[in-house]
Symmetry: D2
Subunit: 345 residues, 4 copies
């Protein structure tokens, strides 16, 4: 079986496992006050070229999104997201559960267009009945998006400027950040990201860790009492070192970059294989580790027998939309095997 | 000045005021356990031809919507509404404040189309990732809608059937119900409404009362411990008689119908006046007490000097969208004066 | 029947009814932007000798408590109350429903003792694990308390100082404020109250109005976006004039004081009557309109036939704890009749 | 340095680490649908002698408490806990954050007495105003308690019966369950526990795991849609195997019992050492891994130089209350070293 269904099916990258073994017997402080977490924070600050950045480690993506968004908003405020945004679709209403409205903007490729955002915020702020409305005070984007697409540096810059000109802030969900940073053609690096948003997180769970996300508040602008609020959200790990150590490792010797590069490099080979054998074609082009392809319905059965992947839904009479994903655990040989399978269909 | 800006600018209908005066010195029970409330409930049950219906009196519309919706939903569930629905726009995120997602469906005339609803619910229930998603378990519609439009009996019937075939329920916001029930061409009456939804409210505040809405749960299907939950929402009136007495009056001698008929009758005269003098034209036709007209920008200034109305926003280079509203307090003479004003522009 | 069970069983004070009648046909703005509300606010500011005070009108007590407390707290903060405090017992968990902890302090007479408060806050702030704890950032007291008792000016001053020395704020629930202000021996007036707390409300519902409470933020320190948050809580009245007009009336010609004085004057006669005839005795002395008496169990049946009152619970083998309440609607003759009844038992 | 400050300062038990290494490259399903989680659940069901039990894995204690309690309660309900209960003190108001009241009962030794619970519930249910009150529908106890003390089987049985006779349910926080189960004199085992409560969790984080708690709903009575609600709480781990594998290991070869026995065996040696050298004495006796001692103030400085422990607060002029904790990582030699230190003071 060739596993291309998901980037969190395996344990963790071997370097991380090795560090767990080496450090297991060391005594440390709790709740994030341990030397591994400190070191990881220092490395992240350095990678972001932001010596004042505040860094916090949480366990998973939905938890991070709902905790950060809730804490960046006042209670009468809501968050703007693409209709396809993870917080709007696949988090079981976790943001609304904390009491905040999600304003969903239409999107075709998973991205929020600066123009659409500007028009929405302009409309809200010029509405004379706005005192009767939740205030869009935060904008949520994912980088890469849920469809594997990327914002360019100039798009990010424009979004950030638009946010600020309307008194809103910008939060970037980087659950798969490694794959964005290392994608061919991407022109956003960590320092640029850190200086063009108000908060973002560096995904661990989907980028080689067992669990964990690193939330970064550039320039030290973390929400007040954020530690206590993490606890209140049930998101404070007693053994904070569990995530701290993993990020310490991910940010050593370029591991985080290597993981992203490796998975992206294999993922971008996939679409041409499908096209070469007439089995599928690209819907929205992606240079990251998630590839969304329209696959011929009559080929699905045969494909499923050899390849694990996700069917996202029907597209038309001939095609279904399917997702193929690579990770640190995907091997070049998996892609070669995929070609054999496609050739044989 | 001719006041056509709103239907809650004056006190209350004179019949209500009279009853306040007559009953002021009477001793009654509290929290809705008074003879006026009992009588009003009985009259509402009768008007709905639903002897088992449970009736509760709350103070205002947003309060009623957020309390009822919250109590009809389990915590992992959300409510579907038209994009233009009051709960989605003008209630300051009150539904989300109670922890529930609002799923907004596109709408052009303020209504949810049965087809769009069916497609949305079908899509949700066939999505294999639905365990990661908030469940659309309630559908909210307003009758009349925020744009003054009406559902037909067959549309309501279809919406109700679609809801139930997907395990969802239907809640009807009747903040301006009097104006819907009495509109020309309307084929929904209270018994039909009560037998084609799971909950609805009969609006008082915007239909002649000082305050108050009557929530009806047909067939006695009120949420468990609803009394306690009203209290928990801060919505329990100590002197429940305040609202009870008003509905007792509104449902005596056909007053509620008379108020609706009176306001509708005057409202529908307005569009033709604007057209007659070339000052404006209809965007979405309405037979209820709210008329939305495209008014010539060059006529606005002159109009504003004599008429109170609401500008809802820009439409195009030539027109702005404006709202004109009548109520029990509007007089035939107001419409005649409006004609004079329009003639003179 | 002599009604001494509650102070909100009747309609409203006749002066208020008269004003409703006189003003019913007047056109006004909505949502509190009406001339009656403006005038009432002005009068309240004057009565408080606080020209900068911000005043808001809400419909009822629980609503006011939960809205104000929620808005004065950040999300990681909680409110301190006497164990017997209304928010801790009889509001169906409305404060917790908004996400905030209620810290309950033991109390014998319904009051929080400054010493107990100081010790509690001192303990919290010196606890090294406080980052794992909700922060007591607001103190709630009721004046008069749920047991009819009163704080003295010096006690209020001490509580206020203690709050501020620990970074907390003080909120005073004045649901029955009229009865406190006019009680014999009371040394707190509105200006003193306004300058010794961060927020308080002037009760209307239990002091002669049909509904309504006036929230006062001395010195203009209302929570940010409080108008929108009132709406979000479902507490914004469309016809704000309903409450505005009532407070306009209550603060004209000393009506609010007269109502308090009248009810207190009659209430304080009650205990001695019970003692005189050996039917009951005082538990906690009260000079306000609520009298808590231990009534002989063997007298209860006979008493109930002629007098409406509330049994609060068993006390010992011989006595039950009962509450007797007066209001603007109580007549001197009611007390005389009570004496006849007691004499006859 | 001798570390007796906490039971979650180190990595994880070596058996767990070994299994991480062995299984790291295995491909599995996500979100708990993996073979390790399945196996762990099976083993837990067996250990509980409850084949229908439903088991869920969460990451940490506060998260587990707030998620389970929220999901076991309807919105108008609250949870009863000892004043000293973790949810009432050290979880940053996480339960209230989900909207539920915590009713705190006085406690001297960390336990809720059956009599006090019965009286409280009896009082609530006989209160005629209970429709205005949050309903105590769940009782939270910790086993062992925050003070290291234990309920006996007969006490647990009584609490469970009292709960059920008042329509309430019982939830047991077993963050340190291993240390309770293995304590000398304890007469509660897993099957007894599972048949005498409605939900409990088996603590991992404080009992040798890197993270993770196993929630057990005996008899298959998990809350509806609990999976979705875990997600909504931000508590669903993408790599569910992370916790599944750890519990699979903890419940293999009696590891969980061994960990408990080891730590308890060392902990109970501590008090007599302090007494032997006149440095401290027991306040509340404990047979579990947490020992609370009154330590002579004049000995604290010297002690701190050699031993890590927690000062819990002042006790009197002579003593401070201190906590000493053992874990799987504590060695017999640590206790011997402690004796040397005490001898030398």
């Amino acid at each position: 079986m060739i596993f291309l269904d998901c980037d969190y099916n395996n344990g963790c990258h071997e370097d991380i496992l090795k560090r767990f073994t080496e450090t297991n017997d060391e005594y440390t402080g709790t709740y994030g006050f341990d030397r591994f977490s400190s070191r990881a924070k220092e490395k992240i600050r350095e990678a972001c070229a932001d010596p004042l950045a505040e860094v916090f480690f949480l366990a998973g993506g939905t938890q991070t999104n709902s905790t950060v968004i809730d804490c960046m908003l006042e209670r009468w405020q809501g968050v703007v997201a693409a209709e396809t945004g993870h917080i709007n679709v696949h988090e079981a209403g976790a943001v609304e559960y904390t009491g905040h409205k999600v304003f969903a903007l239409p999107s075709e490729d998973g991205k929020i267009s600066p123009d659409a955002l500007g028009a929405f915020l302009q409309g809200w702020h010029s509405d004379e009945t706005r005192d009767h409305m939740a205030e869009p005070a935060l904008v949520y984007i994912s980088f890469p998006t849920e469809l594997g697409t990327l914002y360019s540096a100039s798009e990010l810059d424009r979004l950030y400027c638009i946010c600020h000109s309307f008194g809103a802030r910008l939060f970037v969900d980087g659950a798969r950040l490694a794959y964005a940073l290392e994608a061919e053609g991407n022109d956003i690096d960590l320092p640029f990201l850190a200086s063009h948003c108000d908060a973002f997180y560096i995904g661990g769970t989907k980028c080689g860790a067992l669990c964990g996300e690193a939330v970064v508040f550039p320039g030290g602008r973390a929400p007040e009492h954020f530690f206590t609020r993490i606890k209140q959200h049930g998101a404070l790990l007693a053994k904070g070192r569990l995530v701290g150590l993993q990020f310490d490792t991910l940010f050593s010797d370029g591991l985080y970059s290597r993981i992203g590069r490796h998975a992206d490099g294999l993922a971008v080979l996939i679409p041409s294989l499908f096209e070469k054998y007439g089995i599928g074609r690209v819907l929205t082009p992606s240079r990251t580790n998630q590839q969304f392809l329209l696959v011929r319905k009559d080929a699905l059965e045969a494909l499923k027998e050899e390849v694990a992947f996700e069917k996202w839904g029907p597209y038309d009479d001939e095609y279904d939309l399917c997702r193929f994903v690579t990770s640190w655990a995907t091997k070049r040989q998996d892609i070669e095997s995929l070609e054999s399978v496609l050739r044989g269909i």
